[in-house]
Symmetry: C2
Subunit: 158 residues, 2 copies
């Protein structure tokens, strides 16, 4: 039980990142995004996210999962939709009895980059450094999810 999953919730793109903790240091396992196209009916997009999440959860026995909280500063209409998707994700995690840690975006950036207002490139650079990757983790949502996974591995008490 030394695997940690990070999730950057969204509707068009859900970022996920997996790290493994060895001797208290996080190592890269996997990352990517679940994509859903606006061409699909809303309910099918939610089901697609659920299906792909189930697949990711079946890959490892996770010690804990981290997921970002939502902030609707710019676009409330889109934020409501993302909250629907996050609800589906949250219910799936909870129903499996997984330990869930929630973080504000600024909390993740402050912990990983030392600056709560770090930009997306800075997050990628720090995740690359912390996980000793040969290149920048991409896309942004997957890098954010890895940052969340790293933070989760730090705060979770085994």
């Amino acid at each position: 039980l030394n695997y940690f999953l990070g999730i950057d919730p969204g509707l068009s793109e859900v970022g996920f990142g997996i790290v493994k903790l060895e001797k208290n240091e996080p190592f890269f396992v996997d990352c990517g995004i679940i994509k859903t196209t606006p061409a699909l009916p809303f309910g099918e997009r939610l089901s697609l996210i659920k299906k792909d999440l189930k697949e990711i959860l079946s890959l490892h026995s996770f010690a804990a999962v981290g997921i970002e909280e939502l902030f609707f500063v710019k676009n409330i209409t889109n934020g409501i939709k993302v909250a629907h998707a996050r609800g589906v994700i949250f219910e799936e995690l909870s129903s499996r009895g997984l330990a869930i840690h929630e973080f504000k975006p600024t909390e993740v950036k402050a912990n990983i980059c030392g600056n709560g207002h770090a930009d997306k490139l800075q997050v990628q650079i720090m995740v690359q450094k912390l996980l000793h990757l040969n290149q920048l983790p991409k896309p942004h949502d997957a890098a954010d999810a890895l940052a969340i996974a790293i933070l989760t591995s730090r705060v979770h008490k085994l």
Copy 2:
């Protein structure tokens, strides 16, 4: 396939109402609320809503389900939570291949009461009248859900 389900989404209370269409007229079948206490962890509240919804959906073969859209005029923080619950509900409905109709609250009131800004008591009175009930349907969320079920039965093309 002449049963129609109406859902008034929420987190603490999800209203549900079931009507049956006979000779193009709606008849009362059932109504009530799914309650979740804030004392439970958020994920468990979402799972409880899902579990109770599944039970309601198992009662009849529904021709269609109506569900209200969300409006966050007053409290965005609470609205985000309700959107999580609505996401869980929406995904469950969609995954069963049910026809889903979405209505704005003003649309429901305009159709049932002839006034998009009717208050909760007016909705109860009109639902009582339309369904020939001996008393006012209670609580408010269940009455709203019956109004949504009636409207769904009107707009759904069989």
